[in-house]
């Protein structure tokens, strides 16, 4: 295989694996912070147990997220040195800001949070968790500033054979940033909520083996999770709608491919529910269409046509020269549908789940088939988040920075296919091990349940860290 393909495989593999854990820890981090806040405001030890229990799963996910994130920072230089040379003046800045602003904050306060239970006042302790959450949000923001530039370059000039920043404010206020940020954060929050609710549902299915405490923890967690999932998935939908319209303007090819449109649509435009495209012949093999819907999605109106890929291709050739501009159409089309489909599913499960667990008549807990639906939904947000990123990144083809620099030009010329193969195999092996251990340990933690954890705790008196000398004997 050639080095471009190997480097692309590596980028896909490492980012997809990394991104299972990023939204998982942002989302569960929020859930844990909410639970601990409930403990502080209601002064009910029960919520503390809940927060600590889910905190364990959050910490596992955070650990894998951190180490797989290291690869990302290194691989731009390792695999994409030409890209780094061309883009470093702009692209490096948000990464450095991310480290300074977010990573230090996250890791320092996470350390404080983990090791000061019962040693500082509960009010201060919960602040640590919120700071970790703020840190992870800021981290997401700055990395998306970088990604937004790749999707839609702004605030630069081409100088000295590279892209140079000439407007930092423009870089940060790139309209893409707000769309991506709100979509990504809402997606992470949804994931946290749904995953917590789903994992709780798995345990509630074995209700005979649960203690009174465990059952209550799982029931409460299920509801907290569904509330978070509901808020998150409504926000995802709204943010996604904005993002779609921005995509139509700035990356029409990605939009048309996500809709499987080779020819310009009719006016009003019909939306394709399912379809398969023959990418070689550039034609649709079959498709089921729903009239009007694409016009509504694109323009919020009952009329308006959308350009097809063939038209856009000609425009791009005119603007940027002869080259293949067709992204992998079926992949974009189906990733979009997986993302949107599971998004809708999560929204529905949240609403229906909350209704059937309401205080008056919580019948969901008694009906295994209902619990199964919530339980299986655990996997939906992971698939939806991944599909969303595949759509975004595959749809960037053939560019690394849209209109400025191509994937072919970006790869390191001095790295051999052998080296790339070695690193691909190493990462694949590591990810298989990390992924399996992670799943094993999450299941183990869930099976142990909140009461076992509590029994293992040791008591220490509360100490005020602001009072000098309190920690020294």
């Amino acid at each position: 295989m050639d080095i471009v393909t190997l480097a692309r495989i590596q980028f896909a593999m490492t980012t997809v694996f990394h991104y299972f854990f990023v939204p998982f820890s942002i989302g569960t981090g929020l859930v844990v912070a909410i639970m601990e806040t409930l403990y502080v405001t209601k002064k009910d030890e029960f919520y503390k147990k809940m927060a600590k229990f889910w905190g364990n799963i959050f910490l596992l996910s955070f650990a894998v997220g951190v180490v797989t994130g290291l690869i990302q920072e290194f691989q731009f230089g390792m695999n994409w040195s030409e890209y780094s040379r061309f883009m470093g003046d702009i692209f490096g800045a948000p990464l450095a800001v991310e480290a300074l602003l977010a990573f230090f904050l996250e890791s320092t306060f996470l350390g404080l949070w983990m090791f000061t239970w019962d040693k500082v006042s509960p009010k201060l302790h919960v602040v640590f968790m919120w700071l970790v959450f703020v840190g992870s949000m800021m981290s997401a923001f700055w990395i998306l500033v970088a990604n937004s530039f790749m999707q839609h370059p702004v605030g630069y000039t081409i100088n000295n054979g590279r892209a140079e920043m000439n407007d930092f404010v423009a870089l940060v206020t790139n309209p893409k940033v707000m769309y991506e940020f709100s979509h990504v954060i809402a997606g992470a929050i949804t994931l946290g909520g749904i995953a917590v609710a789903g994992m709780a549902a798995f345990r509630l299915l074995k209700k005979d083996s649960l203690t009174e405490l465990s059952r209550t923890v799982y029931q409460k967690s299920l509801r907290v999770g569904l509330w978070v999932g509901l808020v998150g998935s409504v926000a995802v939908l709204a943010a996604g709608d904005f993002q779609m319209k921005a995509m139509l303007e700035t990356q029409p090819m990605k939009f048309a491919a996500a809709e499987g449109l080779y020819e310009d649509s009719e006016d009003p435009a019909a939306w394709t529910l399912v379809a398969w495209m023959n990418e070689k012949e550039k034609e649709r093999v079959f498709g089921i269409e729903v009239p009007y819907v694409l016009s509504i999605l694109s323009y919020h109106e009952l009329s308006g046509s959308v350009d097809g890929m063939n038209t856009i291709n000609e425009r791009l050739i005119e603007e940027y020269g002869e080259r293949n501009y067709f992204p992998p159409v079926n992949a974009l089309f189906w990733n979009f549908r997986v993302m949107a489909g599971f998004g809708m599913l999560m929204l529905m499960v949240s609403i229906v789940g909350l209704f059937f667990t309401r205080k008056k008549k919580p019948i969901l807990y008694e009906k295994p088939w209902m619990l199964w639906i919530v339980a299986l939904t655990t996997f939906a947000p992971f698939l939806a988040n991944t599909a969303g990123w595949l759509l975004t990144e595959l749809g960037r083809y053939p560019w690394t920075a849209y209109g400025l620099f191509t994937i072919e030009e970006s790869v390191s010329p001095n790295v051999s296919a052998t080296s790339l193969l070695i690193s691909n195999i190493s990462y694949f092996t590591l990810f298989t091990i990390l992924g399996s251990v992670m799943v094993y340990l999450v299941i183990r933690t869930l099976k142990k349940g909140p009461d076992v954890l509590e029994a293992a705790e040791h008591e220490e008196p509360t100490i005020d860290p602001f009072a000098g000398g309190a920690f020294n004997e």
Binding site: T68, F74, A99
Partner: protein
């Protein structure tokens, strides 16, 4: 060379120095888990000494990498693509080590030993590879006009770079032992001191070998005689100070001295390299210089504001966190992690 370029070169040096000072003892403690501890309870005690802080310490490296990317993209691109397999090993080390803490904590009792080993091995790989990287880099590497580094095995692995790798690993290990005797009570504290006392003998031999090989394999003594001699002398003096302080039971002094030894090493390498970033062994005109490898003045200016504005906060809460965790981890009361 502009002031901003100089500022960023120094800042990257400072970030690496901070990384080796802080993460240096984390590596040392990590290696100690399988070499110093006699049982699982002692392993727990060791891990608890760095549990709350190691992740923050690692961010110094992430920040150094990010700062390099932002301020010297050509350096970042040439170095990272040129040191491909060594940096892959660094990543593997950091990954298996980084997950060890959580994985070990949650594993069933009979499988915990696996993640004790990954912690130790990962903590050994990373300083060795960084030592290898920096001490081979200062000898000059084959980079062409485009800055592409295509080297052969002996460019990376040669007497100086092996001694460099071993030296950085050993200094980190000693730094870790000093940290352990500062942060623990009980048998492990005494044992850490005894180990360190014995190993300081090896360290003197290592430093002497390092100085000699540096003389023969780099141009440091020609282009930067004064600073090279000063920092080499500092490394030796600080090692003696640490050794003596340990002997007298002054654990804080020993710890600070071993940390500053690592800082002096970074200073030695960064001053010797100056004003070059990568010395081309093909032709001096291909040298990657501070002057021609940096980002635009605009980007450097923006990033300077960001760094100067944020670093005080980072340092503030980092110090506060160390203050919170200043207590020794008692062997009678190990919570473990």
């Amino acid at each position: 060379m502009s002031n901003l370029q100089l500022f960023w070169y120094i800042l990257i040096g400072v970030l690496f120095a901070g990384f080796f000072f802080l993460e240096g003892f984390d590596f040392g403690v990590g290696m100690s888990v399988k070499t110093l501890a006699h049982n699982e309870k002692e392993e727990d005690q060791l891990i608890e000494t760095i549990g709350p802080v190691w992740d923050g310490n690692e961010v110094w490296l992430v920040t150094a990498g990010g700062a390099m990317f932002a301020s010297f993209p050509y350096w970042y691109a040439s170095l990272f693509s040129g040191y491909y397999l060594i940096l892959l090993l660094v990543l593997v080390g950091l990954i298996i080590r980084g997950v060890s803490f959580e994985f070990r904590h949650h594993m069933p009792a009979d499988k915990r030993w696996i993640w004790g080993w990954t912690l130790s091995i990962g903590s050994l790989i990373v300083p060795f590879c960084f030592g290898l990287l920096f001490t081979s880099l200062v000898q000059g590497m084959p980079i062409n006009a485009n800055g592409d580094l295509s080297a052969t095995f002996t460019d990376y692995v040669n007497p100086l770079s092996i001694v460099g790798g071993v030296a950085l690993t050993l200094l980190s290990y000693l730094h870790g032992l000093n940290y352990i005797s500062l942060k623990t009570t009980g048998p492990i504290r005494t044992r850490a001191r005894n180990y360190a006392q014995a190993l300081y003998g090896v360290a003197y031999v290592g430093l002497a070998a390092f100085a000699i090989l540096l003389y023969f394999n780099t141009d440091f003594f020609e282009v930067r005689l004064t600073s090279t001699v000063i920092f080499l002398a500092l490394m030796i003096i600080l090692t003696v100070v640490a050794n003596l302080a340990l002997f007298k039971g002054k654990e804080t002094t020993a710890f600070l001295a071993s940390g500053l030894t690592l800082v002096s090493l970074v200073a030695l390498l960064f001053t010797g390299l100056f004003p070059r970033l990568i010395i081309s062994s093909i032709s001096p005109e291909y040298d990657l210089l501070i002057e021609n490898a940096s980002s635009s003045p605009y980007t450097l200016k923006i990033m300077s504001f960001v760094a100067i504005g944020l670093l005080p906060f980072v340092l503030g809460y980092t110090i506060w966190s160390y203050y919170i965790f200043r207590k020794r981890i008692k062997h009678t009361n190990v919570a473990g992690y």
